[in-house]
């Protein structure tokens, strides 16, 4: 029962974020940037402005919908980069072993020792603020766990008969990795990627909150929090709703990841067989 609950609630929240982001252009009642009207500043939530307005009189609801685009882009693209780096390094290290394995292991341990947000901060400081540098910074800093899982999966799959058989049939190392090993470890890798998306959304919010991420006036949930901070007593809704959006989307990604882990776990599959 728990198995169903995680994946359904997680899937529902994730779907909500995806739909909100994709359909923002059509369903947002106001423009997130241009519809600023100081006469409407700090209006509490009501019929006209569902989630209220911020200090510049912009509709918080519309800004959250557009902000979902940023969060999704960051979550998906940075996790894609992380997963590719982690899988390529981990799989080759596990398969080839030797000095390459030692090197990758050392690198992974170094990455795990550095707090990823601090590392991302340093990368952002070098690249400058903006969406692209945000994607690069988050994409380069969170591959260590994926790498470890890819490496250990490869080590255990390598001794399976079908991987050895592929070698005796003349397959090259790369062909073995991509046709025999990778498809059989996609489960845990996919779970790691989904779980990491929540972390990436949080990191984006944190970096934008610190002023290093998405630059104003374009909305991201983190930068909306920054803007709302100064008037949190007068207009708490301007901070509460972006905060809730971050909370619910991260919860959604994590539940989806957990749910996928349960579904993809072969021990849970006996029922279906």
């Amino acid at each position: 029962m728990k198995l169903g609950f995680n994946i359904y609630l997680g899937g529902f929240l994730t779907l909500l974020v995806i739909l909100g982001g994709l359909l923002a252009q059509w369903i947002a009642p106001y423009h997130p940037v241009l519809d600023a009207n100081l006469m409407n500043a700090e209006v509490p939530p009501g019929r006209e402005f569902w989630f209220g307005t911020d200090a510049q009189g912009r509709d918080v609801y519309s800004r959250i919908l557009y902000g979902a685009q940023i969060s999704l882009t960051v979550g998906i693209v940075s996790q894609l980069i992380n997963t590719v780096i982690g899988v390529v390094l981990g799989m080759t290290a596990g398969y080839w072993g030797g000095w390459w394995d030692d090197l990758v292991n050392g690198l992974t341990n170094v990455m795990l020792a550095i707090p990823s947000l601090i590392f991302a901060l340093a990368v952002m400081a070098v690249l400058g603020p903006g969406l692209v540098s945000l994607l690069i910074a988050l994409g380069l800093t969170n591959w260590s766990w994926t790498c470890r899982i890819a490496r250990s999966s490869t080590l255990s799959l390598k001794s399976q008969g079908y991987v050895q058989a592929a070698q005796t049939l003349g397959y090259s190392d790369l062909r073995i990795m991509f046709t025999q090993i990778l498809p059989n470890m996609m489960g845990p890798i996919l779970v790691m990627a989904t779980l990491g998306m929540g972390g990436a959304v949080l990191s984006e919010a944190a970096l934008s909150f610190l002023g290093l991420g998405i630059q104003p006036p374009f909305p991201s949930w983190g930068s909306m929090l920054t803007d709302a901070r100064e008037m949190i007593r007068l207009a708490p809704w301007a901070a509460i709703f972006p905060g809730l959006a971050i909370f619910l989307s991260v919860l959604g990604f994590n539940l989806l990841g957990d749910g996928l882990r349960d579904v993809l776990d072969p021990h849970m599959r006996t029922r279906k067989l």
């Binding site: 399976q160 008969g161 079908y162 050895q164 058989a165 592929a166 070698q167 005796t168 049939l169 003349g170 397959y171 090259s172 062909r175 046709t179 025999q180 498809p183 059989n184 067989l273």
Partner: protein, 320 residues
């Protein structure tokens, strides 16, 4: 007599083991295979028998190129099959293939049977769609499966059927040697006979030479032309299966043969050849100190050699 198809000469495979100690000072070398020599004639089945850990499987992996030998040579049709002059994976694939013990781990769960048979064919230059189809259908039929079953995934098959698929995959490229690594020991007793008969039929049909690794002596008795008994990395006795089973000489080999449940003995109709006293070795020779009770794998064994006691029947003995 023609030259053997596969010759293994003085094969050594050593593994470093860390024997504890704070700084890894207990480092020793494990002699998994220790100066093994044997030959496989075309069209015969040679069984390599011995207890777990005696180096049988390591030998099989070395023949398949999955384990690099420490020293010694493996030759296929007189050409080097190990070491720096060994052929590449592609040439090796058409010469020798392997059937694994565990039919559940030996098939990729994400590939249909068809896909796992078609990929090696395409890799080896069979690109015409109709030819790939034909060869797969023929091969599946040879191992007792229908072409239609090829569209299924491994988890839809039973253990015996999976082993048939494993055999089909080993034979699809038309190899000359097939290494059978405990081919039936993971299967139900009721299915073993089917698979053994299938292997014997295929051997006739394709003119295959089998190198079988086994510890199941009833299977060995049924399938082998010759037997090589391995004990801690060395061959202690080798010969035609009749001589080995009726007249074992080496103490370890006698023990091994004595473990076979023989219906004639159980029914009291005959006496086992191994019931009697340990026969004396030929004059001038003694049994080497193999440390039958507690062999030390890290110690170099006494110098000994294989001595012919009957035609083609060799026993490992040391000079007095």
């Amino acid at each position: 007599m023609t030259a053997p198809i596969l010759e293994i000469d003085d094969l050594h495979v050593h593994f470093p083991v860390t024997g504890g100690g704070l700084l890894g000072t207990g480092r020793k070398t494990l002699h998994a295979v220790n100066g093994l020599s044997l030959h496989l004639n075309k069209g015969e089945c040679l069984s390599l028998v011995g207890e777990s850990g005696c180096g049988k499987s390591t030998t099989a992996l070395a023949v398949m190129g999955l384990q690099e030998p420490t020293s010694g040579s493996i030759r296929f049709r007189g050409q080097p099959f190990s070491g720096p002059e060994a052929p590449g994976r592609m040439d090796r694939a058409r010469a020798a293939q392997i059937v694994f013990q565990d039919p559940y781990a030996s098939l990729n769960p994400r590939q249909t049977v068809w896909a796992s048979l078609a990929a090696p064919l395409r890799l080896h230059g069979v690109t015409a769609k109709s030819e790939v189809e034909d060869r797969i259908a023929t091969m599946l039929k040879s191992v007792g499966l229908s072409a239609e079953q090829g569209r299924r995934f491994p988890h839809e098959f039973s253990g015996g059927q999976r082993q048939r698929i494993g055999i089909a995959r080993a034979l699809i490229l038309g190899p000359e040697i097939v290494v059978l690594d405990e081919p039936v020991s993971a299967l139900d007793v009721s299915i073993r006979a089917q698979i053994i008969n299938l292997l014997l039929d295929l051997q006739d049909q394709f003119g295959l030479s089998y190198l079988m690794i086994s510890h199941d002596l009833s299977v060995v008795e049924h399938m082998s032309d010759r037997v090589a008994v391995m004990f801690f990395g060395e061959i202690v006795e080798t010969g035609p299966w009749q001589s080995i089973f009726t007249n074992p000489i080496h103490p370890y080999c006698r023990r091994l043969i004595a473990t076979i449940p023989d219906p004639d003995v159980i029914l009291g109709r005959s006496r086992k050849p191994t019931d009697g006293e340990q026969p004396d070795p030929p004059a001038g020779w003694r049994f080497a100190d193999t440390g039958l009770e507690s062999p030390d794998l890290t110690k170099k064994p006494d110098p000994s050699e294989l001595v012919e006691v009957e035609p083609d029947h060799f026993v490992r003995l040391a000079r007095i």
